[in-house]
Symmetry: D2
């Protein structure tokens, strides 16, 4: 299974008035996880965009188990769990020292510049 | 059924390089929907917090149907679909001129200042 | 003098762990002020962009006098104080019930799609 | 002179519809620069907060020279240029491969939990 783990330090403006990482920020972290997983396979998302391929998020699910706080260093593991000609499903685990803080799943779809669904470039699909 | 609709204009830094409202922003809009639904019932979330009651998001689901763009005025309808002693389930519809752009569902839980689950204040539960 | 005032309600994720509006958010509010001042003059920034004119910020200054907090409704007054063929200087006053919370000044420059300086469209310059 | 350089990779939602790092993000990067400069001296900002000392930004100035784009890795150098009993002045240089993208200056002030000005803890002032 294709997977990749990155570390992310929680930034001050990402934390809300309760002192917790705002729940919308998890989606931004997941996106970073996808980009770095792609990079670990030898691809830059910016190159895909230059070649006219974009990925849009069509579905997300997140379960929040415990809060993250400012300045904590978190481990995010991103996995590809399913892939079709036009879509990729990822799952995510966000942990702090082994404790699961959040679990997520997303479906992204490949679109062209006009936003129309298109096939994922073949070099990526042969990858996984 | 308790429901409330607000209008939100998409801001420039909320839009990504594709020109689309970033998918993490929908969760921030949903939060605004919950706060304004509460206000429409006569309660301010800030007052709840002063009284030691906080709501944390424990689960979210979003399906993205079509992109929103900078400066568009969107309609967000927030509904309470289920409520227990400690949790509230909301659903959301984000539309532009009648076209559904995204649908969402969240579960929020009532916690005290230390983050422990606690009962939702009775004036709110008798409300819905 | 061309000026325009808007109201902005502080959102939850805009507030940091101290409970204060994060100081970076003021620049986003100022941008909203510029956009709405332009709209009050009959122009949509999105239209300018469609016509190939963009405004980039080349300089900002902010003095923070007092904190703003979650859910407060603030008044932002935006003024055009100077305009050349390619640049516009604005000033800003952010207030809560008459109390000045922050004062700012920006210089924006007109650029084309490639990022090169270009003349501000004449309908805008004859405006102020 | 006390100075510290960090690397920051530009994230997707930090970039606006022009494809440029949004100008408000620079202030968030500068804050990261201050925090990491402090850490390089052996102090954690979170510890200061636990001890009742907070730093609020009272003044910022930024000059934007050139745009930064998604996924670029930038170098941010943060310097302490002046310090009084209650205030610290920092300057910043944000570069990409030696090219200056932005220069900034901030004044931060030490406050207690109630937001009142207070003296910077002595271990920090003896530091610089």
């Amino acid at each position: 299974m294709v997977e990749h783990t990155i570390q992310i330090r929680v930034r001050y403006p990402e934390v809300d008035a309760m002192g917790y990482l705002h729940h919308s920020r998890h989606l931004q972290y997941f996106e970073m996880g996808r980009v770095e997983l792609l990079r670990s396979q030898g691809y830059a998302y910016t190159e895909l965009e230059k070649n006219g391929f974009f990925f849009v998020v069509v579905k997300v699910e997140v379960r929040y188990r415990a809060p993250a706080r400012y300045d904590e260093v978190l481990d995010l593991t991103t996995r590809i769990v399913r892939q079709t000609a036009v879509r990729i499903d990822h799952t995510y685990e966000l942990k702090r020292e082994g404790l699961v803080l959040a679990e997520g799943a997303t479906t992204i779809a490949c679109v062209d510049k006009s936003g129309q669904l298109c096939e994922i470039p073949s070099e990526l699909t042969s990858e996984s």
